[in-house]
């Protein structure tokens, strides 16, 4: 039954992409939803993770340096470390200043990372990108349905572990301090909480999670190029969080599912309706659809589908 198998392969691919976006969105939720840190360079931190993992896991090659051929999990861990470190440095430089500096700097990071990926050919392969990135369960690649399901299972496992880990972390006294700092920084300081210290922790951890999402995406597709990491990615992740519910980890996952489904469905629809020569222009309708959902959410349900809880700590079962 080739049709059914094809459907399974497509379905698992589709859900896997949702999972990968959900991971990035969970990272943003820690930064923005919990802590109020405005990151407009998400694509840059995702790219750092993707390239790190690619360089660590690809076999030796003459196209670019790296090619250490390390296990995939090491690549993902390395991605979290480099993205986390990059976020830490950006945070350390700007979090003491007024909050707009962080936004400007993250934007600069994304632009810089994009330029580096384009131009540092010996490191990143330039505009051709990096190919032959080892994929998990590569041995099943000839059976797309099995391959897709195995990858989906792995990605779902990562999302679940991340979700549980983040819930434990933010629905705790630590998460309560983040909220307190976001809501009333001076009052939090008067109670002994160092805003800079907590913001830095949340920003670095959120950045590491974004890096992980980039790494998993790179390993899943097997090929990366600079154009994967344009500001439209940042826009998408932001929309997912706002629609799903800023400050709520389940909302972040839900938002990822909803927005990616809309994105794919409008893409499918325009592909059916418009003739091939109009396709490039019709693609703009995808962004229009997302924009409509975003505006609708902001007007009708500004806290998103799932809002923030009044009781922060899970130990108080409120």
């Amino acid at each position: 039954m080739p049709d059914l198998l094809g459907l399974v392969a497509y379905g698992s691919f589709f859900l896997a992409i949702i999972g990968i976006n959900a991971i990035g969105c969970l990272g943003l939720n820690l930064q923005w939803g919990q802590t109020g840190l405005f990151n407009v360079g998400i694509a840059g931190f995702i790219a750092i993770g993707a390239y790190t993992s690619a360089l660590l896991t690809t076999p030796a090659t003459t196209d670019h340096i790296g090619g250490l051929h390390l296990p995939i999990l090491i690549g993902w861990l390395g991605a979290m470390i480099t993205s986390g470190l990059a976020s830490f440095l950006v945070g350390a430089a700007t979090l003491r200043l007024r909050s707009d500096y962080l936004a400007i700097t993250t934007f600069g990071v994304a632009v810089t990372v994009h330029l580096v990926t384009l131009n540092a050919q010996s490191l990143t392969g330039g505009s051709f990108g990096i190919a032959f990135i080892p994929r998990p369960f590569e041995t099943y690649a000839s059976q797309p349905a099995v391959f897709g399901l195995a990858n989906l299972a792995l990605i779902v496992a990562v999302v679940v572990v991340l979700y549980v880990g983040l819930e434990r972390l933010v629905r705790s006294p630590w998460g309560r301090v983040l909220r307190a700092i976001r809501e009333e920084e001076r009052a939090a300081a008067s109670l002994g909480k160092s805003a800079t210290r907590y913001r830095l922790q949340a920003f670095a951890l959120g950045g590491a999670i974004m890096g992980l999402s980039g790494a998993i995406h790179a390993s899943f597709i097997g090929f990366i190029a600079p154009d994967n990491y344009l500001s439209s990615v940042t826009f998408q992740i932001w929309t997912m969080l706002i629609v799903g519910g800023s400050g709520n980890n389940l909302g972040a996952i839900l938002g990822a599912a909803l927005i990616w489904t809309t994105w794919s469905a409008t893409g499918f629809f325009t592909g059916m309706v418009f003739p091939p020569e109009q396709q490039a222009r019709a693609a703009a309708l995808q962004i229009v659809a997302i924009g409509l959902i975003l505006s609708g959410t902001i007007v009708i349900r500004p806290r998103g589908l799932l809002g923030e809880r009044t009781t922060v700590s899970r130990h108080l079962n409120g």
């Binding site: 809501e183 001076r186 939090a188 300081a189 002994g192 009044t310 009781t311």
Partner: protein
């Protein structure tokens, strides 16, 4: 913390070193000297008042004492240590807590968690124990919850414990701030107009509670326009006007001081 009778005097040389003192403390905003060379000293175990007409510089004084504003000049000594260069979040560890004139509740958070944030040294405020020692964090949370509920009861807000702080009235917000700072168990508390917007029967309770806390050794420095509260709680008051320390003494003597009367009636005289 030593036990002292409520309202022992504030500044005079009794031999004991003061818990909090300032030396020629000044704060300039552009051309205005909001605080201008003020030296005060608060003895451990005292309840001391800081009064003066609107705009005298009292809150600015508190903001410097609490580390929210860097002084333009002068020194702040807390428990014998110069702290004026330290950040605000380091004050509570040095034993100093404060409330704000305009309350600053964590509006979207439940009252009980507002108060729990005051607790110092929580393991769960560090990342790792939440993942690797959840039992420890849970046990601490239970204890802190009980403690916070007692404090909410103390300020008569226990029935709202699980409501978000944004539902509170102005007076209730002042009470929440009091409970929150007490949760931190400071040795000295700066209260900025604790009576403002609080109804008379509740005010009686607050006065009584401050006295009770003081008899257990807690030191208070209180900004207040309500002279009833001041004269009942404070043995010693500082009077500020136009950024300067005008006089100090017992409430009874300072209210009869011609300079003080002049400052309150005639717009500040310098």
């Amino acid at each position: 913390m030593q036990d002292r009778p409520s309202g022992s005097t504030g500044t005079q040389a009794t031999g004991a070193s003061p818990i909090l003192s300032t030396l020629s403390l000044s704060k300039h905003f552009g051309g205005i000297a909001a605080v201008d060379g003020v030296s005060i000293s608060v003895q451990r175990g005292a309840i001391v008042g800081l009064i003066g007409p609107n705009g005298a510089g009292k809150t600015t004084m508190f903001d410097m004492l609490a580390g929210d504003l860097k002084p333009t000049a002068g020194e702040i000594r807390l428990q014998g240590r110069a702290v004026q260069a330290e950040p605000a979040h380091a004050r509570i560890r040095a034993g100093l807590g404060r409330t704000f004139q305009i309350p600053r509740p964590f509006a979207a958070m439940s009252l009980v968690e507002n108060v729990m944030l005051g607790k110092q040294g929580q393991s769960g405020e560090v990342i790792w124990p939440n993942w690797f020692r959840p039992g420890l964090v849970a046990a601490e949370e239970r204890r802190n919850f009980t403690e916070a509920m007692e404090l909410l009861e103390f300020v008569t807000l226990q029935h709202l414990a699980h409501e978000p702080a944004r539902v509170l009235s102005g007076g209730q917000r002042k009470l929440l701030e009091l409970a929150r700072v007490l949760m931190a168990k400071p040795e000295i508390v700066l209260l900025d107009e604790p009576a403002a917007g609080v109804n008379p029967s509740l005010l009686e309770i607050i006065i009584e509670r401050i006295g009770a806390l003081n008899s257990r050794g807690m030191t208070f420095l209180i900004i207040e326009h309500n002279m009833d509260l001041v004269s009942r709680l404070c043995r010693h008051v500082f009077v500020m006007a136009s950024g300067k320390l005008l006089v100090e003494g017992t409430p009874e003597t300072v209210v009869r001081d011609p300079d003080v009367i002049e400052a309150y009636l005639g717009g500040a005289k310098v």
